[in-house]
């Protein structure tokens, strides 16, 4: 009876259905990326030829350049966004109440509330009016902006769970503000900061719509390059790239999962 209230018939099957829907397309594409045939419909035996094609084929230089842009933009955007978000989290949760606190909170979350396509349009109009040529820099600026809330949320969540006594003790023992932060608070916040960083990194790597608007001519990131190829039809090399990116995402989730689990064990 006690266990009975938790059980609803059919909910388990719904979960199986949910996971099936989420994974079926990914598994199919992963399987077909190892297809030896040039046609995407027939199975030509197991082969790694499309992975070789990704790195050495005719489209390889384009994909390499796009991957480089994507990775460096994600790296810089995530780093800057995490630094900004960490500072904001400390101010929001360690400086007491202040006038404009809820307004600041709304501001931090604004990139999550405005639809992506609207951010894309607004950002393009802004860069055009100010007279900044669209390209690498404009993508980077846009990415830093929309990554801030994604970095902020895990960092703030972690910070709220840390007792203020630790910094208090450090300050009482004549640690400067910087020392209290870098030697006491930051190490305690680290699991949240890493989670925020990883989330911001993945979100930046993932973005298509905003990047597509502000990238300018001739500039590609991995998603816009893939989109351009897919417009001409799904080729097997796209499936190989997709599988590689899937692997990167899975690696990131695993990292984030492990960091969070370790974070829960420490104070």
């Amino acid at each position: 009876m006690r266990k009975g209230v938790r059980h609803y018939p059919g909910f388990g099957w719904m979960t199986v259905l949910c996971l099936f829907i989420l994974y079926a397309p990914l598994i199919v594409v992963m399987a077909y990326s190892f297809n030896g045939s040039t046609s995407i419909t027939t199975w030509g035996g197991f082969s790694l030829r499309w992975y070789v094609d990704v790195f050495t084929g005719p489209e390889a230089p384009r994909f390499k350049a796009a991957a480089w842009n994507s990775l460096t933009i994600a790296l810089i955007a995530a780093t800057v966004a995490t630094a900004i978000a960490t500072a904001a989290a400390v101010a929001m949760h360690r400086a007491g109440g202040f006038r404009g606190r809820s307004l600041t909170f709304a501001l931090i979350n604004l990139p999550l509330m405005v639809p992506e396509i609207v951010i894309a349009v607004a950002t393009l109009i802004f860069f055009t009016m100010v007279g900044i040529t669209t390209g690498y820099m404009t993508i980077l600026i846009a990415h830093i902006t929309f990554c801030i809330p994604f970095a902020y949320l895990p960092i703030a969540a972690r910070l709220q769970g840390i007792d203020e006594g630790y910094e208090q003790a450090a300050r009482d023992l004549y640690a400067g503000r910087g020392q209290a932060f870098f030697l006491v608070l930051l190490p305690l916040m680290l699991p949240g900061v890493i989670s925020g960083y990883l989330l911001a990194f993945i979100i930046s790597l993932d973005d298509f719509i905003i990047t597509n608007f502000v990238k300018g001519a001739g500039m590609e990131t991995l998603p816009t390059a893939i989109f351009g190829s897919v417009k001409q039809g799904i080729k097997p090399n796209i499936m190989a790239i997709s599988t590689l990116m899937l692997a990167v995402s899975a690696l990131f989730v695993t990292l984030s999962y492990l960091v969070n689990r370790r974070g829960r064990q420490s104070p």
């Binding site: 609803y8 400086a95 501001l107 349009v121 802004f126 796209i238 989730v253």
Partner: protein
Amino acid sequence: MAGPGASGGGGGGGWRPMLVPLLLPTWLTIGIFLVLPVALMAVYSFLTKEFRGGVIWEFTLAAYDQFFVNRGLFGDEPPTIEWTYIAIFWRSIWQAGLATLFCLLVGFPTAWFIATRPASQRGVWLFLITIPYWVNLLIRTVSLKFLIRDNGPLNEGLMALGVLDAPVTLINTNLAVQLGLFYSYLPFMVLPIYAAVERYNFALSEAAADLYASRWVTLREIVIPVVRPGIVAGCILVFVPSLGAFLAPDLLGGAKTFMIGSLIEEQFKGSLGNWPFGAAASMILMTLVLAALLVYARSAAQGAGPGAAR
């Protein structure tokens, strides 16, 4: 201002004097690169269109007029309501609403099931839900397109099993776009509901069962009202991105499945576009989303009242 001392409400680390320097980067970044652009976009929607996709600095309501009013091909007929764009918006709202409903129907049982597993197993289940959430949306949409295309694995598989005689065309239909939206945002529904169910006090269900309420009555009368903030959060997280979605309608749909996202994108492509009109359509989309968020805020305020059982 009641200035608290170093050890007062201002926190133990003495961060109070650093308030402005700590927040300045956030204010500047989001202020200059998001709030200002949105304000400029609002201004842009009232400017006159220039031929090569630019604008002339002359105030006009032309963009909104084009959206709502039909004056005939040469602009001299008596004005009637222009249905083209309203129909596109209506289709988007309908598709986003339907995707939210389907996500809820699958997401709620899933979230409940995971939250009622033993604590040691929950992490693994959540991990499985989270992986697709982190996978690139473009890649997920392309994968879905590959799966459901005319001679794709889904049709071939169903034909091999004898369920179908001939392939069913899904691509370029509203159904495919619906499937795409549902598939894209399903994890967004599961995670907030899971968080709410995990905090749910099962003694409430036990009390209801002791008073002879059936499972389903308990679900309707007790569980859903209590976990409602999670459900509403999930619905918002699915509805808002679905409404402005671009990838699913663009890759899985065709001309007949046009949604707001594609309409806006088209206005900024090359010299055929119309920037003020695109800005106006974006303004209308943003208004719709803000209305949805307002409903959420009101609902959350109510949820903090009698529904909060702890």
